[in-house]
């Protein structure tokens, strides 16, 4: 009767028989302690004796089979159990439940996954509640605070912290992540928790966060927390005979404001240019295409300026005029020049002929880089992200293939993880923008070259379905919108319908975790952040009240008085005396 670990606990119920589908069974329990919640984990033993294997299952439904008659409930002041006692039913518990369980299987340590036994338990088999320690062992592949682990919270049906849920960072990064939730469900909170875990000494990841709303600057606080540091300063540790010293680890955060994020013009592709210069005629497209090819050919990979692009356009027009024998190209050139000036002229904050973000400056193991793109036009945001992702991907491909070497600009000899907020802007459903192609390419092939992507979105319905379905680890939080629920259901294969039915019922900070980085889908209570949270809504009433506080009112009156005096001083109605 003994299975892995510990003495056999008392059973919580007895198997009734097979359930609605071949992978379900039902059992009956009085459940006096109210332990058998929806989503709770139970098991039965497949074989007796020393070879006993615990077959884990998740409770799907809990149907009462013995309810008080309606008439017993007719007097609000009288408990139905009192009426039952009156007529002679004086049992302590009157509840009896039929619980439907989805069979997950027994855990095979060699396969590192659950194996379905393909046969439901026979009627009368005792059912046990899975204990915390065993669940921790089988639900997550990694133990908390070990290399390659990301402790994101604990199982919702158990007390806080009793059964930790740990993502496998290796799978998370190589097979990509999606965080889907309605506004206010806590998606940026969960993303920050994941980033924190990636930045802990046992992971020390190279993370880039694309932050269109400026929500992640609180990660700067990581420098002030011991959780993100490890080892001792080299000076205090004297290894005998020059033995290897343990380097001090300290996670750092770099926040790049929108004006610090430059895109070098020469990194733009022709399709980027066409995307940035909208409403072009066919002729303008043609001229721009030829000018771009000529320029690239002439520059041989060297940077070029907007002026040089304009000159290249003019050259193309000139040769076109020569061929046609008229000056019809001139108006096209004027229009193109005007558009290039408008977009890439001196007033633009994003594009630069020479400078751009250095890859190895922005991406380092142990560094979390936040690109704050608020105040940047949406098209510019897309081009910034597209060029950056392309550069990262190409650098990784070239480095892995040995085409670049240390010192080259395109040299990036470590994997990186890019977390993209508002992902539906960068891969919208039913539309192809400049970021869509490179995102799809990274999602499809990034695992070979060590480029992982995490997409965060509040509108999965607006996110490209292919893109979403390629993120093999999913964290899905509360979603109320039905269209969004359906698109999640369609795109996310690993999560059963019955688990997704819980989506509207989830509270803030609760998430369904499924996919490659965990052994089985489960509902998680996200852990507390170490750094303070920055993505919260403004407290308007508090600010309004503050406006009327005594100090603020006095300040305002002083300011108004000064202003009034000034106005009086310069008034044209001021009398001369």
């Amino acid at each position: 009767m003994q299975a892995a670990g510990g003495a056999q606990p008392a059973p919580v119920g007895i198997t009734k028989g097979p359930g609605d589908t071949i992978h379900e069974y039902t059992f009956i329990s009085r459940d006096e302690s109210r332990l058998l919640k929806n989503g709770e984990y139970v098991y039965y033993e497949l074989e007796g004796g020393a070879n006993a294997r615990r077959v884990l299952g998740r409770i799907l439904r809990r149907d009462p089979v013995q309810l008080f008659p309606d008439t017993f409930l007719s007097e609000p002041a009288v408990a139905p159990s009192q009426v039952a006692a009156l007529v002679g039913y004086d049992q302590r518990a009157s509840d009896l439940f039929e619980l439907s369980v989805a069979i997950m299987g027994y855990y095979d340590h060699t396969l590192d996954s659950f194996v379905n036994p393909w046969i439901p338990p026979s009627s009368g088999t005792p059912i046990y509640l899975a204990d915390d320690a065993w669940l921790t062992e089988v639900l997550s592949r990694k133990q908390p605070h070990t290399p390659g682990s990301a402790l994101i919270g604990s199982l919702l049906t158990r007390p806080d912290g009793a059964t930790p849920i740990v993502l496998d960072v290796k799978d998370l990064v190589s097979t990509h992540l999606a965080i889907i939730a309605s506004t206010g469900a806590g998606k940026s909170y969960l993303a920050s928790v994941i980033i924190e875990e990636l930045m802990r000494p046992y992971n020390g990841a190279a993370v880039l966060v694309i932050d269109p709303h400026g929500e992640y600057s609180a990660l700067l606080e990581m420098a002030n927390h011991d959780e993100f540091a490890d080892g001792e300063p080299a000076a205090t540790r004297n290894g005998a005979h020059g033995a290897a010293r343990r380097p001090r680890y300290q996670a750092t955060t770099r926040v790049y404001q929108h004006d610090q994020v430059k895109v070098r013009l020469s990194t733009l592709t022709l399709s980027d240019l066409r995307y940035l210069l909208p409403s072009m005629t066919d002729k303008q497209h043609h001229f721009l295409g030829r000018a771009y090819d000529n320029l690239r050919h002439a520059k041989k990979g060297q940077p070029w300026t907007a002026e040089e692009l304009k000159r290249a356009v003019a050259d193309v027009a000139r040769s076109s005029n020569d061929e046609s024998g008229d000056d019809s190209g001139n108006s096209t050139v004027a229009a193109l020049h005007w558009k290039i000036d408008e977009r890439f002229g001196d007033n633009n904050m994003v594009f630069d002929p020479h400078h751009h973000l250095g890859l190895r400056e922005a991406l380092k193991p142990g560094q979390c880089t936040v690109l704050q793109l608020n105040e940047v036009d949406e098209r510019d945001q897309q081009v910034i992200v597209a060029t950056l992702l392309r550069r990262i991907y190409n650098a990784r491909v070239d480095t892995e293939r040995g085409k670049t070497h240390e010192g080259d600009e395109q040299y990036l000899n470590y994997p990186v993880f890019v977390l993209i907020e508002e992902a539906h802007h960068f891969a919208p459903h039913g539309d192809e923008v400049v970021t869509t192609r490179i995102l799809k390419q990274i999602l499809a092939e990034g695992r070979k070259f060590g480029v992982g992507v995490g997409l965060i979105s509040q509108r999965p319905g607006k996110l490209d379905a292919d893109v979403l379905s390629q993120c093999l680890t999913q964290c899905i939080m509360r979603i109320v919108n039905e269209v969004d629920q359906k698109s999640v259901g369609a795109a996310v294969e690993g999560v059963g319908r019955e688990l997704l039915d819980n989506l509207p019922a989830l509270s803030k900070g609760q998430a369904i975790i499924a996919g490659a980085a965990v052994n089985t889908p489960m509902i998680c209570r996200v852990r507390q952040r170490i750094t303070p949270h920055g993505g919260e809504s403004k407290d308007a009433p508090a600010e309004w009240r503050a406006y009327h506080s005594a100090d603020a009112t006095a300040d305002r009156q002083r300011g108004d008085a000064l202003l009034y005096r000034n106005q009086k001083g310069f008034s044209i109605f001021k009398s001369d005396d």
Partner: protein, 242 residues
């Protein structure tokens, strides 16, 4: 001691004797007719819905069912009657008037007055029979505390056992008790399930009458009893008429 008990019980005389049973829980009691006892039983003592008690069988059965019981004065409630296992508590749910002369329209040589005059030993053949359903049992516990049990009693009353009415405080004691020595007492109507299960159209009506009686005895339990009452009233009055 015995005297005080007898004094207390002096006003409560038996209403009749068990003469027949239909099952382990259903009995027929023949009510004492005029002249059979010193004081004729009160009509209200064997009314529809009245509670009665009957000593449960203990020793040998009485040889003559019609022989008068040993003394009219019964031991007080809660104390086990002599040579008995306690009391069965019953409910009167039916009354039958028996008249063997009914339908015998043939000529008689003497009329009733003459029979009374000339045959003083002539037994009055007319009788009032009441049907009783056993609701439970009461016995004396080890500590002298009355022990109540609702439902079907294990032992049955004997033929000829005396049937006597229950007083209000006895009805209260039968219904309001605690299940264990130190537990909180609460209202019991544990006989409801088996009373309803009997195939008799009058029983639910009798239960309804019982509920109303309990409402007057336990005014503080009004809310709880109203559930039972409403339930029965709905089924008996609304559903059966609808």
């Amino acid at each position: 001691m015995r005297d005080t008990r007898d004094t207390r019980r002096a006003g409560v005389a038996a209403i009749g004797k068990i003469v027949r049973s239909e099952s382990h829980v259903r009995y027929t009691c023949q009510v004492y007719g005029p002249g059979e006892t010193a004081a004729s039983p009160n009509h209200s003592d064997y009314a529809f819905g009245a509670f009665v008690r009957i000593p449960l069988r203990a020793g040998a059965t009485l040889p003559d069912t019609l022989a008068p019981a040993p003394g009219d004065a019964l031991p007080p409630f809660g104390e086990t009657p002599a040579a008995s296992a306690g009391w069965a508590i019953g409910l009167i749910y039916d009354t039958i008037l028996l008249n063997p002369a009914f339908g015998a329209l043939g000529p008689r040589l003497s009329n009733d007055e003459q029979v009374e005059l000339f045959s003083p030993d002539y037994v009055v053949e007319r009788a009032t029979l009441v049907s009783i359903l056993l609701l439970g049992a009461a016995s004396a516990g080890r500590d002298g505390r009355p022990l109540m049990a609702h439902g079907v009693p294990a032992l049955a009353p004997d033929l000829g056992a005396l049937v006597s009415p229950l007083e209000d405080d006895e009805i209260r004691a039968f219904h309001y008790y605690s299940d264990a020595p130190r537990a909180k007492p609460y209202l019991h109507m544990g006989y409801l399930p088996h009373a309803v299960a009997q195939d008799n159209p009058l029983l639910p009506m009798a239960i309804l009458r019982v509920t109303e009686r309990l409402e007057t005895l336990f005014p503080e339990q009004q809310a709880l009893l109203s559930i039972v009452k409403r339930n029965f009233a709905w089924r008996l009055k609304v559903q059966s008429a609808g």
